[in-house]
Symmetry: C2
Subunit: 258 residues, 2 copies
């Protein structure tokens, strides 16, 4: 099966080679930025960069749109596909209807529930792949490909996928930013972020083992008001951090009323 | 060396047996709640529960106050120690001066930079132990004990320890609560929190490998306003979660201006 990858960002960067590893062939990579398209083709066997969205003459049957959410609809409007091709997007938050502009029934969603950065290798076998399609042929094809890539494949509708995506932002993006805040607070005092690493590892370890509610510790759940006040006083001059501290702390106290 | 543990909470629960593992002997455990004191003595060789803070007749030279921050000063005022005993607290946020009421020079801080829950074993060798004392004898003794427990021992003053503690709350307690929010959002839709586990593992993995700033992904750093608005719309009815989402998202955008 030949694949065209539309996009060259973090998801495309890892998904395209993973597809080649299970025997598919990526023939072309489209990006509005040619240099980015070229960079991704260099990770692939025979792919060439594409500069137009007119694929009417290409020998490919799967088109994967792995780009910013806000650009998907625009690309869907411009895209010209060969007959019977399947086209999917990889977005967690966009409905399958975003592909409604494409004159085919063979539309679907292929959402890898993971965080991707170009600099960090990932193991696709452990990534939950959430598939959606209302078209039987498309669904079967996507489920088959997904099952070869990963041990965890599910059919998930647009509404549930959105719930998962919002939750994923809390559990990943917002969480990671709290580590950034922690690092910045330490840097202000010339202290070493490495000192927090065992704590961070154990936090996650415990949360995944006991479940986050059983793993909660700290001054907020103890209602240790003196420490909370001390910390807010310490954060004077870092008003944004103080607001974030205050808001999550309040929510912890509301979640576990004494 | 004989030790008295004052407190029977999460830190005492793990620290007391760890001290016995390196050859110290815990002779008594004090807690205002006798049942809690008894529960901890059952994890120890010969410790007995203590019901008073008058330890003038006990054969022990190290007293560890491992209790809620707000109770430390009160206990310090009531505590009666044998001659030449060392007394420390284990708090990240309390100054060493909190022990100023105790009529001895041998005061110090013994702060394990880790999250402790009774239900979860920890490996003390990997826990940074942050020591403070202005008294040479105390400092030497604490550094020696700490070095037997852990590979990562540092002398850290009260101000720096407070910075580490505030950062630790961001990196651990607040982070863990974001996992709780993620779980609650999924439960609202009868979705399985296990689906997020590979994402959570990889988030931490990546943050510790690349550093949190290099690991940041998601709609906020992409300034994907459409997705951000979608998510906030999704969170209508969960106003507290929406506020937390909005505030951290704004801080991500401010941290990485386009």
């Amino acid at each position: 099966m030949n694949v065209v990858m539309i996009g060259s960002g973090n998801v495309a960067w890892h998904l395209a080679p993973a597809l080649e590893n299970i025997g598919l062939k990526v023939t072309a990579v489209y990006s509005p930025n040619l240099r980015n398209a070229k960079a991704l083709t260099q990770r692939l066997y025979e792919a060439t960069p594409a500069i137009s969205l007119d694929f009417s003459d290409i020998n490919a049957s799967l088109f994967i749109i792995a780009i910013n959410d806000q650009a998907i609809e625009e690309v869907a409007k411009e895209l010209i596909l060969p007959e019977d091709a399947i086209v999917v997007h990889t977005s967690g938050s966009q409905s399958i209807d975003t592909l409604g502009y494409i004159p085919t029934e063979h539309t679907g969603v292929f959402y890898p529930l993971q965080t991707f950065s170009k600099a960090k290798k990932v193991d696709f076998r452990k990534i939950p792949l959430l598939i959606e399609s209302e078209d039987d042929f498309t669904k079967k094809t996507l489920m088959k490909i997904a099952s070869q890539l990963s041990h965890e494949v599910r059919h998930v509708g647009s509404e549930d996928r959105k719930a998962l995506h919002v939750s994923a932002v809390f559990a990943c993006n917002l969480t990671n930013h709290l580590f950034t805040i922690a690092e910045k607070l330490l840097v202000q005092k010339q202290l070493d972020f490495n000192l927090l690493k065992p704590l961070i590892s154990e936090t996650i370890n415990k949360s995944l083992t006991l479940g986050p509610q059983n793993a909660q510790t700290g001054p907020a759940i103890r209602e240790d008001l003196e420490t909370l006040e001390n910390h807010l006083e310490y954060l004077e001059g870092n008003e944004d951090y103080a607001s974030i501290y205050r808001l999550i702390t309040q929510n912890i106290m509301d979640t576990y009323p004494k």
